[in-house]
Amino acid sequence: MIEIDRVSKAYDTRVVVDDLSLSVPEGAFCVLLGPSGCGKSTILRMINRLAPFDAGVIRVGGEDVREVPPEILRRRIGYAIQATGLFPHWRVEDNIATVPRLLGWPRRRVRDRVEELLQLLRLDPETYRRKYPHQLSGGEQQRVGVARALAADPDLLLMDEPFGALDPVTRLALQGEVLRIQQQTKKTVIFVTHDIEEALRLASVIAIVERGRLAQWGTPLDILENPASAFVAEFVGGEGIGLHLLALRKVADRLRPDETADGEPLPSETSLRDALAAMTRRRTDRLPVVDAAGRPLGAITLGDLVR
């Protein structure tokens, strides 16, 4: 569990973080969301003490981060950033092995762990182990960056806009990987982004940050349904909130059981947004719904989407 308790930081007279409190439960995927310069990166960097703070306490697993020597603290927390920061003079395997080696793991264990992580990030170990960062594409570099952050199996992972510089297709793929890994390993993730779509796709909880303050805190659905302020409503999409809501809900939520319709059926796990897209493309207002095994469950109509 990560507790940020009344933390503030000012540079001269400019307040970057203002009396901010936040507690992230274990195993949560927490996204810090806000516009550029709102202080969300600073908050993230305070957790592993890359950024100083003037007042308040930050506790990781009950331990005040200022009571632990910074190097020891950081080796226990995974850290991935947008520019990857891969060491250009080290091979992929050495980059991934950074923290395990700092922790003095035996050679054998480091080697096995590197192999395991390359596979976890879907990079073929034999192909990638010996490459240098400059020989990789942007997406591959970021996969290595994530593998490196996970290397010593930290309970907490800090990610600072890790996919901000990637093209949309690569970004979507990496979001999928991170979500899958997080769900498999139940690690706590704190993830900074300014991209609302990315936040909705990944987050179990979202903290919206506005000028160094916490503007709202809740599940993606909470925030879309009940924006706490005009700022939040505007930031999460204004009228576009409707589409985000469709993306979060499933066909199963709006199903008309036992009714039927013609055409190619939708799986019940389809999002309402994809259902809308399917209806629009097929020029129909009614589609049949099936379960994961393909058994008919019922139907959904255009009107159900917006009910």
């Binding site: 960097r45 890359l50 910074p70 850290y79 520019a83 920061g85 891969l86 003079h89 800090l158």
Partner: protein, 251 residues
Amino acid sequence: MRVRDALASPVLWVGVLFVALLVGMPELRPVFHWAFPAVKEPVFERTSFVALWLSHAGMVAAASLAASIIGVGLAVFATRPAGRDFRPIVNVLATIGQTFPPAAVLALAVPAIGFGPEPTIVALFLYGLLPVIENALAGLDGVPPAVRDAAEGMGLSPWQMLRDVELPLAMPAILAGVRVSVTIAIGTATIGSTVGALTLGTPIFDGLAGNKLPFVIQGAVLVALFAILTDMLFARLDRRLRALPETPFGR
């Protein structure tokens, strides 16, 4: 294949030419006789060229080694949090060392240290400091901020950061500075002969004083070849350094 590569390398041929002239200059007596019939003893023979070169190279090595160690040390210090305030002073010191003409350093050093190789080494050291400091600073500044951030965020200590990240990444730039410094020192060391140091400049100054052009040519050609050969060896070292990356954490 390897033999062919070696034979095709200009380093080898410049090296062979240099050693041949160093050892075999007296054998060229007939050539110099023919070219300069007016000069009675056309080959410099007061001291052997090998002895001159050893003394010359020794002074350059001592001065450049000291300039490299102290120059890199100052650059590292000036880029640490504790030393950041001293950075302008380090820059100024290095620039003063460079703008002070070596001849003036010699003139000032002789009364303090006396004649011989020592004042020459001091002059070469001061003169060679600037390229090392400037390049080392550029190299250390050139470490990408994201790499520093990631290194710090993963828990490298300041010392590990310097040893495993900053210095290896700055090494090509540092080497370039040392290369400039050494090459300049080889040329500049010749003036040490004016204060009693034995260098390849000795025949040059003897030749100028005694109006013996062949001496000047012999000294100048050897100094030039020595400088070119050294520069070529540095170029080779640089290529090797870029091709062979570090293994992390000294393993």
